[in-house]
């Protein structure tokens, strides 16, 4: 009986990212990020725009470097990879962009967009073979009948269709993990679920892991149902839990504010009435002036003076994988 836990595919330990500035102290975009994603697992990351989640996604996808901590992929430190090992990694982690109107080359046909990486990596040159592979992938992402799509240029495709081509392109690399960067935010709400269902099917069929970035909580709950979600604020993780736990019993004030905003004040749509919970003030401080102590303290309705503005809370454990970085949580545990 093998009691050893299966190795995590992606493991970030105390990962941080800072930018140096001329004549000014460096800006820290990400601080102390700890997360793990196993094979065939989904981790959802939620936060306001500008909280650093896209930067984190780019670091995971290997498009950006990290300046502190460790990012280990399949037990290898990504920052140290070179040559062949780097190229292996490069293929194993892919990213789907947010903007479907910019992620496809407008001068290339769908067929070429998908066939180019196939030609390079699978060394297939015969056209009939290429066509077969391209058709397979188009069917996998739901773009059928295939003949209707292969010779179209991106400007003839809708946003949802373009995203599917993007997904097909990513799958040509047979990735182990895909960073999904708000891939549905520029598509009509009525079409988002269909795209996400396709992604989940792909997970079932091909065992890919997802790092799902979004600012829409309901969408994140749908996509990552039964799995974990992480809330970020100003470059730090402030809460993480299984989706149901997070939605039913949020611990961090920021999470509570987000849930309140997501449900809204009318009960017509949600059929539940929850008490409104709002943060003070309206705007997130910039990264160059992160508040001392807990970064949420200027906006937090439950701020405890003398404590919240001095101490930076760690992630305190609430059981069942639920953790929150709030001094209130720490107090309650004692």
């Amino acid at each position: 009986m093998n009691g050893k836990k299966m190795a995590d595919l992606i493991k970030l330990t105390s990962l941080g990212k800072s930018f140096s500035q001329k004549n000014r102290p460096p800006i820290t975009i990400l601080r102390d990020i700890n997360l793990t994603i196993g094979k065939s697992e989904t981790l959802c990351v939620l936060g306001e725009s500008g909280c650093g989640k896209t930067t984190l996604g780019k670091i995971i996808a290997g498009l950006s470097s990290y300046t502190s901590g460790s990012y280990s992929f399949n037990d290898k430190e990504v920052g140290m990879l070179k040559g062949k090992a780097w190229r292996e990694f490069r293929k194993s982690v892919q990213l789907i962009h947010q903007n479907p109107y910019d992620s496809l080359n407008p001068a290339l046909m769908t067929f070429d967009i998908i066939a180019n990486p196939i030609k390079r990596h699978e060394k297939i040159t015969k056209i009939a073979d290429l066509y077969e592979r391209v058709s397979q992938l188009l069917e996998l992402v739901g773009l059928t009948p295939v003949e209707d799509f292969v010779d179209k240029y991106p400007n003839a495709l809708s946003g949802g269709q373009r995203q599917r081509v993007s997904i097909a392109r990513v799958l040509t690399m047979n990735p182990k993990a895909i960073v999904v960067d708000e891939a549905t935010s520029m598509i009509d709400t009525s079409l988002r679920v269909s795209l996400l269902r396709t992604l989940r099917d792909i997970q079932k069929k091909m065992g890919v892991s997802y790092f799902f970035i979004t600012h829409d909580l309901a969408l994140g709950k749908f996509f990552a149902s039964g799995q974990k979600v992480m809330i970020m604020y100003l470059g730090r993780i402030v809460e993480e839990a299984f989706t149901n736990d997070l939605v039913e019993s949020p611990a961090h004030p920021y999470t509570r504010a987000v849930i309140s905003a997501a449900v809204g004040s009318s009960d017509i749509l949600e059929r539940t009435i929850i008490e409104k919970y709002t943060l003070h003030g309206t705007d997130i401080p910039s990264f160059s002036r992160i508040p001392s102590g807990c970064p949420l303290h200027p906006r937090c309705p439950e701020m405890m003076p003398g404590e919240c503005d001095r101490i930076l809370p760690d992630l305190y454990d609430l059981g069942n994988g639920h953790r929150a970085a709030c001094l209130l949580v720490k107090k309650e545990k004692i």
């Binding site: 498009l63 490069r90 080359n105 001068a107 180019n116 077969e132 003949e147 292969v150 040509t172």
Partner: protein, 297 residues
């Protein structure tokens, strides 16, 4: 099991070309100036093609017919050697056209390749190239060519090639800035994630987006080449062959301009050169309206 027998790679390439031609056709037919320019250009091309057969040059000089005014036999009159001017006009454009095509092709290719690679590779290579281009552009071309011709024997084809090589810097800068902005686009980031080679990215991802740009700049380079050639022929630096530039040179040096009868000897080629240039300008402008990235999408 391919459901269609059509080989898809050729399909994509031919469709791409077809789309390009459609765009060009649209540009020309919908723009009055473009249409006019295209017609003029075509007339010149046709004339250049049929002239050797229909209007062959007078090779023998006829002293009895020196500097005659336009008549029914010689529509534009005769030159200082008694040769028919019209025939010289008809045959005079061919060389200019072909040479400017050579120059434009070389110049565009160099500008494209160097500009795109420079922008994509960046680093020291890019910094050095930018510096070189700036220096290059500040060298006055005509005097340089005059100096060249002093050292080397230049025939017109060599001249065309040299002009092409010399003109890399202008297009280099515009292509480089275009590519730098293209580089920011998500689909290029996607291409790097697919681990595609740099040359693939330059020639297969970026270049197709520059085709319009290239089409427009091609006409520009042709114009510049014609100016340069005419200038050199006029200055008599190049060996005398038969073309409009040479005609102007001859008119000048042989004192033909002082004879009121054959003022056409200098006027006609000047007008023809102007027509050629203007038609290129109009066609170039029509293409730009269609291909300008700012107006696209």
């Amino acid at each position: 099991m391919a459901t269609k027998d059509v080989p898809y790679v050729t399909l994509s390439q031919s469709t791409r070309l077809k789309k390009l031609f459609e765009q060009i056709r649209y540009a020309i037919l919908n723009n009055k100036a473009g249409l006019f320019g295209f017609v003029l250009l075509s007339l010149i091309v046709v004339m250049s093609v049929i002239a050797p057969v229909v209007f062959p040059l007078d090779t023998v000089s006829d002293p009895s017919k020196i500097l005659q005014a336009p008549s029914s036999e010689h529509i534009l009159g005769t030159d200082h050697l008694g040769r028919d001017i019209w025939k010289q006009i008809a045959n005079g454009g061919r060389e200019l056209l072909m040479l400017s095509l050579v120059t434009a092709s070389i110049g565009v290719f160099l500008g494209l390749a160097l500009g795109a690679f420079s922008a994509v590779i960046g680093g020291i290579f890019d910094s050095v190239m930018v510096f070189l281009a700036d220096v290059w552009l500040s060298i006055p071309r005509l005097p340089l060519l005059v100096v060249f011709s002093g050292f080397f024997r230049l025939d017109s084809l060599t001249l065309a090639i040299i002009l092409g090589i010399l003109s890399w810097a202008g297009l280099y800068r515009t292509i480089r800035s275009e590519v730098l902005s293209l580089k920011q686009r998500d689909f290029i980031e996607a291409a790097t994630m697919q681990d595609l080679s740099t040359s693939h990215i330059v020639f297969r991802e970026i270049s197709p987006n520059l085709i319009g740009f290239i089409a427009v700049n091609f006409t520009l380079l042709m114009r510049a080449a014609i100016y340069a050639q005419v200038g050199l022929f006029f200055l008599g630096i190049l060996p005398l062959e038969q073309n409009w530039g040479v005609m102007i040179n001859q008119a000048w040096t042989q004192g033909v301009i002082y004879n009121p009868n054959s003022i056409l000897f200098i006027l006609a080629p000047t007008i023809m050169i102007s027509i050629l240039i203007i038609s290129l300008v109009w066609v170039g402008k029509a293409l730009e309206d269609v291909f300008n990235p700012a107006l696209r999408n």
